[in-house]
Every structure is written in C-alpha cells, then in structure tokens.
C-alpha cells in the first residue's frame, strides 16, 4: 500500500474471534478497522488502573514476581555519551545481575543504539540475553523511510535480535495513518527473524483513543511487540496506557489468534511499580502474557531496585543501594 494513491474508503474488514489477521491493502481498510474499535473512556480507564494498583502482592507471589520482572527487563542505555566500556559493564550486569547469586535470572535483553550492537553481541556470546537496537531515527523518527530502513539494516547486520522502531507521530496525529502503517510494514519486511517492537510514544499521542488505534495499527502492520515510549519525552509509560495497550493485545489475540507482546518503557524505577504492571498484565491480557516473550520493562535503574527487594525479602531488612553495581 502506498501513501499517495489510496482510496479513502474500503470494505469493512471482519474482526471477530478466530478471524485471523486481516489483510490490509488500502488505507480505507485500515481506517475502517480502526474506526470500528470502541472508544476508551479516560475516567473509567484511569479508575481501573488505579484500582489494580491497590492489589497487594505478598510472599511466594512476590518472590516469583520479582524474578519474573528481572527476566523481563530490557536493560537500557540510550545516551549520546554511551561508550564501549559502558556497554561492556551493562552486558555483564545483564547476564548476571548479581554475581553473588546465580539463581537470579538474566535480564531479557540489552537495549542500545545500533552502533553499539556489535560490541554487545560479542559481550553477550553464550548467554540468553538478546540484543535490542533502537532504530528508525530514534527517538524522533524524523527521517526519510530510506534512512530509517538503512538504520534498521545496520542494526540487523551487526547482529541485533530485536528492533525497537518508532512510529511517525506527526503523521499519525495529522491523520496520515497509511504512511505510519506502511513504515511499520516496511521495517517488518526486512526484520527477518528479528523481533519488531513498535514504539508508539504514547506521551505524544496523548489520548487513550489514539493509544488504542495506534496499538492496532502497529499490530496489523506486523509488530511482535507494541511499546509505550522512547523514554525521551516528558510523559513515558503510565499504568493506564499499559492497561489500554494490554486490552488491545488481548482483543487482537482473540480476534486474530496472534499474540503480540507489550513493552512499557521510561520512568519505571521501583519494584513496586514493576509489580503493579505485572498485576495489570495478569488481570487484563491474562497470565499467558506473564513471560518475557510477551511483556518487557524498558528500564535501567529498575533492575537494582528489583535486586534490592529480592535481597530484602531474603534478609528481612532493607538493604543499601550500594549492595549492587551501579550499571
């Protein structure tokens, strides 16, 4: 589908249990699918997220949840000041979050800029930790499709297992949905076996209706994951946004049979917040999503807090932050 000669209306695409992923050939079809989605009442969604935040996770459930959360972390560094040395220590931490305790799982992945992928790949040899690269002119996405695709190819050539792309929020907000969709499809088409995470940057989409539509757009375009944020704008992941995206993933799975993951990123620093997200996952999409294959945290300082909580559970006392390495 191209962006210039699209018809503006299309046949209604059937959505319903077991209908499979619909083929979207025209912008009209895409619009008609997105228009058929129910609206989101922001007050009700906020209230639901707030209520789920009151769940109290104790004892064995908490133990399991902390380890699960560690295994879901995409340990992230996305700074202009990143160096090979920094990436090396990040990779060491990713493999073995606390060298004193081998029972602690590795994190899911490290997440960095494409030029650092090769180095990380090397450092993670022999581990289960994936290498994720932010590509497509991250974080703004303000570049031509050719440049975005070149960015993705760079990362793939260097050995990236996962690509975190950004959507063109400007195009989405001005209604050029076909263009946004085409970019997702184009990136997906060169990803091969690499998993594609599509970053919606919900802080710029603002409304929950937009979040729901963008989630569907990305999933229809082939996303393996939909991700909240780049972490580079004022508002990152929120429980309410996660709730709406998980509802979308649940409904998409029910309608097409395809399970798409959700990644929350930006501003998640405390174990308590991570556990709250897991509760939202559990009670919205369901326990099938409680795996690193289908839920991730994009974070850096969160990992140490998860380790500290884990240690505190065992020792029964609060622990110093300096118990854990700073990376």
């Amino acid at each position: 589908m191209s962006t210039t000669t699209l018809p503006t209306t299309g046949a209604q695409v059937r959505l319903g249990p077991g209908a499979g992923v619909p083929t979207v050939e025209t912008e009209g079809q895409l619009r008609s699918i997105l228009a058929s989605l129910s609206g989101v009442d922001a007050v009700g969604a906020e209230a639901r997220a707030a209520r789920l935040a009151t769940r109290s996770i104790k004892r064995a459930t908490k133990w399991a949840a902390l380890d699960l959360a560690i295994s879901m972390v995409d340990l992230t560094t996305l700074e202009g000041a990143d160096t090979l040395g920094r990436v090396s220590s990040l990779c060491a931490k990713a493999r073995r979050p606390d060298p004193r305790d081998p029972s602690i799982p590795s994190v899911a992945a490290v997440c960095l800029y494409p030029d650092l992928v090769a180095h990380a790949r090397e450092r993670l040899e022999g581990s289960t930790v994936k290498v994720a690269a932010v590509a497509t002119a991250f974080p703004s996405g303000r570049a031509s499709l050719a440049v975005k695709l070149a960015d993705v190819r760079d990362a793939l050539d260097a050995g990236a297992d996962e690509i975190d792309m950004v959507i063109d929020r400007g195009a989405f907000l001005s209604g050029r949905l076909g263009q946004v969709f085409d970019e997702v499809v184009a990136v997906k088409s060169i990803c091969g076996d690499a998993h594609l995470k599509v970053i919606l940057e919900t802080g710029e989409l603002v409304t929950l209706d937009n979040v729901r539509r963008a989630s569907w757009l990305a999933m229809l375009g082939g996303a393996d994951f939909i991700k909240t944020s780049t972490g580079k704008v004022g508002v990152s992941a929120t429980p309410t946004v996660a709730l709406v995206m998980l509802e979308a993933a649940r409904d998409f799975a029910e309608s097409t049979g395809r399970l798409v993951g959700v990644k929350v990123a930006g501003g998640i620093r405390r174990s308590k917040d991570a556990l709250r997200y897991l509760v939202i996952v559990n009670e919205t999409a369901g326990s099938a999503w409680l795996t690193p294959d289908l839920f991730r945290f994009g974070a850096s300082s969160l990992l140490n807090d998860l380790l500290a909580q884990r240690l505190m559970q065992r020792r029964g006392v609060y622990v110093r932050p300096d118990e854990f390495s700073g990376d």
């Binding site: 609206g39 009700g44 064995a60 459930t61 559990n282 690193p292």
Partner: protein
Amino acid sequence: MSSRPLANSELGWLAYDPAPESASLARLAPSYGLFINGTFTDPGAHEQVPTLNPATEATLATVAHAVDEDVDRAVRAARHAYDTVWSVTSGAERAKYLFRIARLIQERSRELAVVETLDNGKPIRESRDVDIPLAAAHFFYYAGWADKLDHAGYGANPRPLGVAGQIIPWNFPLLMAAWKLAPALAAGNTCVLKPAETTPLSALILAEILQQAELPPGVVNIVTGDGATGAALVEHPGVDKIAFTGSTEVGRAIQARLAGRGTHLTLELGGKGANIVFDDAPIDEMIEGIIDGIFFNQGHVCCAGSRLLVQETVADEVLRRLERRVEQLRVGDPLDKNTDVGAINSRAQLTRIEELVAAGESEGATRYSSSCALPEQGYWFAPTVFTDVSQTHRIAREEIFGPVLSVLTFRTPEEAVSKANNTTYGLACGVWSEKGSRTLWVAERLRAGVIWANTYNRFDPTSPFGGVRESGFGREGGRQGLAAYLDV
C-alpha cells in the same frame, strides 16, 4: 526467544498469596451499652445480642438491645440537648464540631475500615477506599454548610426541625450514619440514631469519636437494637423527624404510621436500577461499570445496577466479555486486600438471594455463576448473571440485594427507556454511550433519582442522592440534603 511462559500454578498468580489486613486493628470491646447523653450505658443493664462476622459466623461482640424505655431516654436526652445547647450553638461552632468529627474519622480510618469489614462482610478494599473516606467527606461537606444555611436557597435563617430519629441499614453502616448525622447536625437538629441489627459496631466506634470530639452530651444518641427498637423510635411522640433507609416494605409501614402526625419524613428505599448499554459504549470501561454496578458490596446496594439492558447488536460481545470478567472476580476473605467480593451480610439475606435465584431458574432464565470456590464457613454467594430474562420474571422486577444480575436486551433508545422505567422503583440508572446527546435524551426520560453516565455507583457528599416513586423521597447529599433537616 526460548523462555517458556510460567504456568499459573508456579506463580500462584490467579490466586495471589493472602494479603490480609489485621483483624486486631479493630480493638473491639466484648460488649457495648447504648450511647445516650454522651456516655455509654452499662452493657449489663441490657439484654445483650451478639453481632457476627458473616465471613466466619464468629461472634465479634455483643451489643445492647434497646427497648422502649431506652429509646425514650435517648429521645429525651436529644430533646434536652436541643433545647439547652444545640439550638443556641452558632452555626460556626456547630461547623467546628463537624470538622472535628471528620478529622477524627480520618485519623481512625484504618480501624474503622477493619471494624466495618468484620461486621458487614464487605471487602476491606471497599471499606478502606469507599465507605470510610466518604463518611469523613460527608462530615467535611456539611460542616461547611452549618454556618452558611442562609445561602442554601431556603431563605434567610432557616430553622432546624428539632429531634431527628434516624434508622439506617446494614449495607454501608458508617457511611449511612454519616449521611444521616452530618446534615442533621449541620442544620441544628439533635439525633437519635438506630444502627442496623446486624452491623452496629462502626456506629459505636463513631460514638467514641463523638466523645473525643467533645460533642455536647445528648446531641447524638445511638441506640442499638432490631426492628422493634426502630418502631419505638418511629412511634415516639418526642421525635420531630424520621429519616429511614431500608426496604420499601418497612418504609411503607413507617409512612402509614406517621400519616396522622406532623412528623417530617424522608425515605430512601429499594431499587431495581437499569444499566443501559448502547452499542457505541466504551466497551472495557462499560464492562467494569457493569461489574461495579452489581457486584460492588456484594450487590447489597439499593441503587445497584441489577438489570442490564443491552442493545441487541452488541449483546453477544458484551456477555462474552462480562462472563470473562466475572470469572476473574476474587471472592473470599473480606479482610484480604485483594478480595473483590466479600460475604453476604446475614443468613437471612443469603436465604432471600437463594430463593430469588431459584425462582429465576424455574421461570426459565439461564443462569451463569462464577466458578470461584466459596469458603466453607460464613455466608457466601457466587457472582451470578441471568440471561434470557423477560420483563415478567421475578428476577427482573424484585430487588434481590445480592450479587445477581439480570440481563435483558433492547433495540432502540425508546425501548430502552420504556424497559428501564417498567418498575415500581426509581432510584438509579446507568447509561453507557459515547454519544452525549443521546445520553442526555435518555437521562431526561428515565424515572430515577440518580442517573450515571459512563460510570456507576459514584457517590459524593456534594451530589444529592435519593429516589422517586417506591424508592422513596427526600435527598441525602448536596444543598438539597439540607432540606430534609430544615423546617422549609
């Protein structure tokens, strides 16, 4: 990626581990007297009646059963306090007492939440997040009115009625006490409050709070007991006003008894609320709203959305999602912070629910109940949804006052309105649609005292609550709530 999903059993996710609030926070006495003229009477001077924890059937404490003479003493104390103290206390000073009470409720909120949950069976999440904060908020709100009655729209210097007799139900024990006492005291009345037979404890803690607030003796008197105690209060010639919340049956009897007297009366009675779902409703929030509408407080809510009217075009999808959501509800220990649905308040109420549900089945409606496990001890009923319900079925007409939803369908807005109004009640309704114009059109035509749009079971001290037709008359909350306690 190679990691496998962790099974639910490994994580214990579906159940979560128990996270119980501590029952010892309740600090209950073994037995209680009556609160008359600022002090508690000797418990030994009265017949003592046990009050049970409906989740375990264990006795929490025993309370006094007030007889006619006790009610008489309480009314006399209220009259004396009215004549000598409260009627000559300025609005500004009354306000400060009410602010104190509000603050004390906030300070003791955790204890009150535990007491409420123990005595009533409602989930601690609700008593902690709804009942107790709203009770405090009511005192705050009416505190502000006490010295502003001139601005309430009833003319200059409106006068109180005198002694108010207030009879409250067991479904929101402390909150109903606050709804009754706060406006009455703000307006300048003195009160005799009769808590429900099965849930007297939070009102007795409130009595302690009134002592801590140094409210003058006799301004509020609290007499525990049963229907006979309530009847004695209604019959008492020294009472100027009766405010009753409870069943339509009892409300009807009270109105008949007072028919020949000048006693002022407000009634907040039963309901059979319709929750109307249009096909353009925000679906996920609407499902939550239906759940809140009927399973909040085990459905022991007079304004519960106990009839779901759903547009036929979306009925299948709504029911599919509703069933999935009902399965998720956690039913069990009310003190557990993760419990969504607690215990039925009493054996008698459980029997009534069971009887009406049996009638639903025998009349041909299709029953679905959550597959959740129910505790062995105590009074429990699994969240239940009836489909294929017709307007003539008892479960579509009678108030069940339990976690039971009856689903009906409609095709047009007119049909929705006509079905919603086809009841002798008129307390509350819900409307779900993203089309504001139609929501308002429907709202204008619903015969109900409260209409919620895209939400349900919302309460606020600034918002008047109350019914029309056989749901009663008079309003609680808001500027309008003052009228129930002013001679206007």
